[in-house]
Amino acid sequence: MRITRYFLYFISLNAFSIFLTQVCYADPVDELLQKLIKEQGTKVCEKLQPLSEQNCQDLLAGSFSALRGKLSDEQLAVLKEKIKKEISSPELLNSILIKSLNGDVPLALEFKSLDSESGTPVLGLTYSYTHNFLTPPPRPDKDDKWHRTYSMAFSAAGTLTQDADDNPDNFLDTKLTLSQTYTTRIPEQSKEFQQKLTQFAFEDAQCDEGQPQTPSCLQARNSGLALLDSTSEYLRAFQRYEYGIDVGYESNQNFDGKLRKLSIYTRAHYEEWGSNSLIGQLKLNPSLRLGIDNISPDSDTHRATAGDDSDYYRLSGMASLWVPVGNFNNTPVVLTFNYRYYHEIDASDVVKNANLESYSLRTYSLAGPNGLFVTYSSGRLPTELVNDEVVAVGWKTYF
């Protein structure tokens, strides 16, 4: 494992530099090493958060011993296994990634731990990139209820794993999109409303953590929230509707199963606004995307291998739901659901018999605002032959 080796080098270099600069001429070495690990190890381990300090100290001590040839082959194997386990944690890798790039992570790169029913946990790296080429028109007139924009964008996204065969989300999507969007326009409020709201927000924020919740702060909070609540008398939802054309490629990680795609699609995103409607009271936040795709598969796709490499049309759909389910221990918990569906229109018998006519993937999750998530996925995406069940558990927390 290349990444494990790098981690070993990293630990060893830190350890070795301490060793060289401070204990080279010391005697007895073991006693000084223990003292140094205790004194200097904390600094080294701070850089490796969220790896726990205890685990980090153990790894440092083990690495020192390994450098001095004091570990048996068996102990060395145990040390390597421990490092492999620690380095495979997505939270540590994400933290190193963000720190090394000063928070400006390109392509929205993120490590994830993916656990497939068919194998052991798999470390995955997801990426996503979007670039807009067109500038939207100026803000609409005050009387307009909708804000209309045009867009031309390039986007690429997917999940990569070390071994493509272990990738439970083996689906890369790259495309160019031309679209038109309609967005709810929030009516402009009076100057008095705007001044009060800004001031109430400022006053409420002064009752922060560790500060007394004074009556004036609470009054400001209630007054500010009441102002925002009052907007739901004439605004029930924030909505975006979009239609457009996609041209692009879908492939698996090895690019040995490419699909050229031309799609006409429509998308809707609805967010509740206050509680002055049924959907608002239920706190439902759905989004939906429907499309008709024209697909030109290459000769390496499962469909072509089964005996049909002709162009075809398919229906594609995606539905998402985001619902807050309550606060537990003062932490809001959200239930999310996502369903993706692909169905070939008028499929040949060859495709039907090979069970390549339809694909679907459903994902449920419980998530918190600070990143804790548990997800369960079931089904398969195009470019995959068999259904799979995937549980992904991770702390999407960054330091």
Binding site: N94, I98, G103, V105, A108, E110, Y127, S128, T130, T135, R139, H147, A157, T183, R185, I186, P187, E188, Q189, K191, F193, Q195, L197, Q199, A201, F202, D204, A205, D208, E209, R221, G224, L225, L228, D229, F238, R240, R267, E271, S287, M318, S320, W322, P324, P332, V334, T336, R340, L361, R362, T363, S365, A367, G368, P369, N370, G371, T375, A392, K396
Partner: protein
């Protein structure tokens, strides 16, 4: 500048988000730790492009809220497109938090009562 309750751009952003997410009693500092998935109401399993779309949707929503509800104006030389793109870039990054959006909002908008 860090996430500060002495900054009207930060406090206005926080106040709108806590109302929008129905977390009315969440204090300023802890709310700064909210992740972007929570802010944009992203569902696990949705395609990355859909998440990007939601990040963009939320940036448009914030632009609407700042200008129409809070009366904020764009800073000199900043266009609506600049402001939305900058906020969307922050929101698209899964590792970012609400507090990471504070300074970009402050740089793009001038809020009422804000000292230059």
């Amino acid at each position: 500048m860090s996430w500060s309750n002495n900054n009207r751009a930060h406090t206005s952003l926080w106040f709108f988000e806590k109302w929008h997410l129905d977390q009315r009693n969440t204090l300023f500092t802890p709310a700064g730790e909210w992740g972007t998935d929570f802010l944009i109401k992203s569902s696990a399993g949705e395609p990355a492009q859909e998440r990007d779309q939601k990040a963009n949707d939320h940036a448009v929503l914030l632009d609407n809220a700042f200008t129409s509800l809070f009366g904020a104006e764009y800073e000199a030389g900043i266009t609506q497109t600049d402001a939305i793109d900058r906020m969307a870039d922050v929101l698209k990054n899964i590792g970012n938090k609400l507090k990471d959006l504070g300074d970009p909002v402050d740089e793009m908008y001038k809020f009422i009562g804000e000292v230059s």
